[in-house]
């Protein structure tokens, strides 16, 4: 075990927040980021079978307990926020479609979304305002945060369950787009198999 590995191990153990490679490198007296990356890979491998895992979530690294041990640990500390069904759906829509406006969320759900739902998600730190869409009315658009990935155990948005299939089958495209695609060319021969 190298000194850098030991130092990274100790730093991530002690840290109160997940740390990026850059933050680690800077903290450890300007180690080369490539060395830090290599050391992280070694450590993650070392820990992969242990009771504690080293994981990367949204480009930041942290230690957490192994998921299969949840039943031991859960009894003491059930502290996770219960989300309403509406909030869960809105969160999923934002995650899979981001950045997305409230009107777009509503058009998928077919129902008005109360401001409170978005507030809950923003307060949890999982959703943030990501600017405005440059269309008439300049609606606010929303996106997920690194904390979202962190909390739900995703390395990146590509890890969202089923996102590749959803994209391939066009289920993340607006209804109008799919509709036009489906109705525009009468029979001929269906080109757009599943591109995306």
């Amino acid at each position: 075990m190298t000194e850098l590995e030991r130092a990274i191990e100790a730093a991530l153990f002690a840290a109160e927040e997940p740390m990026s490679v850059d933050a680690l490198a800077g903290f450890l007296g300007d180690a080369a980021t490539s060395d830090v990356r290599d050391a992280l890979a070694v450590l993650a491998e070392t820990y992969s079978e242990r009771g504690v895992h080293l994981v990367e979530r949204g480009k930041r690294w942290h230690f957490e307990t192994a998921p299969d041990l949840a039943h031991f640990l859960r009894k003491e500390k059930e502290q996770v926020r219960r989300l309403s069904r509406a909030a869960t759906e809105v969160l999923a829509i934002i995650a899979y479609h981001e950045p997305v406006s409230r009107a777009e969320i509503e058009s998928i759900r077919g129902v008005q979304t109360s401001g409170g739902t978005l507030d809950v998600l923003m307060e949890a730190g999982w959703v943030k305002i990501a600017g405005r869409r440059e269309v008439p009315g300049r609606p606010t658009i929303y996106a997920t945060t690194p904390e979202f990935l962190d909390h739900f155990g995703l390395s990146s948005r590509r890890d969202l369950p089923g996102i590749a299939e959803l994209r391939a089958t066009g289920l993340l495209d607006p209804v109008d787009d799919s509709f036009e695609e489906l109705t525009a060319m009468p029979e001929e021969e269906d080109e757009s198999e599943d591109a995306s």
Binding site: T65, P67, I108, R109, S178, D190
Partner: protein
């Protein structure tokens, strides 16, 4: 997406979803008439569609419409308060149903097939998101499935300030303080002034000489240096006001800033 969708060919990609969609009701007989459970009419439609137990791409829209209308009827029979959007959806679906039953040639533009397709596409999207949400919530969530370090020590960055100051700045600062707080001696230099008393005496003496109007400037000492002149003017003006108050003189001024004249009251 292929247009197999339009014609009900059954690509089976969607199988992935079914296992996870824990919330999809199973017992198709038991329509629990509880609208609080639905997130709007589209959500209700989606649940009804799922009861058909086929891929969302294959559902019978006509059957779905009938189920929805039937559901709304039952709710109304039970005098349940229905939110307006459920009724709007019901009206639209009733229209869709009638259009679907009409002979083709009588139909106008958005054909019922197109309307049905749009509805189907929307249901697919909502269904996909609902399943995605379930899978998302089923992941390893921090605080439920995985746990972070209970009591992290924290990484401390101790900021130390190295203060800097040099000897000159120090001594200069002391000089500044000393100078600022040194006892100050104020001396007022003697100035050439005409006091009010002497002006009063001078003006009333001069008024005694004539009954004619005189300009105030005529009362000033003719060869005084400029600063004495200003003082004399101010004092003489006040003296003139005082004499007018006592009824010993009259004041007149034709224009604003015009010459101020005075004369003795006889």
């Amino acid at each position: 997406m292929s247009d197999g969708l339009l014609f009900g060919d059954a690509p089976d990609q969607a199988d992935d979803w079914d296992g996870i969609a824990a919330e999809a009701p199973v017992d198709d007989g038991a329509l629990y008439l509880e609208l609080d459970g639905w997130e709007g009419p589209l959500d209700l439609l989606l649940d009804l569609a799922r009861r058909q137990k086929v891929d969302l791409r294959e559902i019978s829209i006509l059957a779905l419409v009938e189920q929805y209308l039937d559901y709304i009827d039952k709710a109304e029979a039970l005098k349940l308060e229905l939110a307006a959007d459920y009724l709007v959806m019901a009206a639209w679906l009733a229209y869709l149903k009638s259009a679907m039953l009409l002979p083709k040639e009588e139909l106008e533009d958005p054909s019922p097939e197109e309307l049905a397709l749009r509805l189907q596409l929307r249901l697919q999207r909502l269904g996909a998101m609902r399943d995605a949400a379930a899978r998302l919530m089923g992941g390893d969530r921090i605080g439920r499935d995985v746990f972070l370090r209970g009591a992290p020590e924290g990484l401390a960055i101790v900021r130390k300030t190295q203060w800097h100051c040099d000897q000159f700045a120090l001594i200069e600062a002391y000089g500044r303080v000393k100078a600022r707080t040194a006892p100050a001696i104020h001396m007022v230099r003697e100035r050439p002034v005409m006091t009010l008393d002497s002006a009063l005496e001078r003006v009333s003496n001069m008024l005694g000489v004539t009954l004619e109007w005189m300009e105030i400037r005529d009362f000033l000492p003719p060869h005084a240096e400029p600063r004495l002149k200003r003082s004399a003017l101010a004092s003489s003006f006040v003296a003139a006001l005082e004499l007018a108050r006592l009824g010993k003189a009259e004041l007149a001024q034709e224009d604003i800033f015009g010459p101020l004249r005075l004369r003795r009251v006889s």
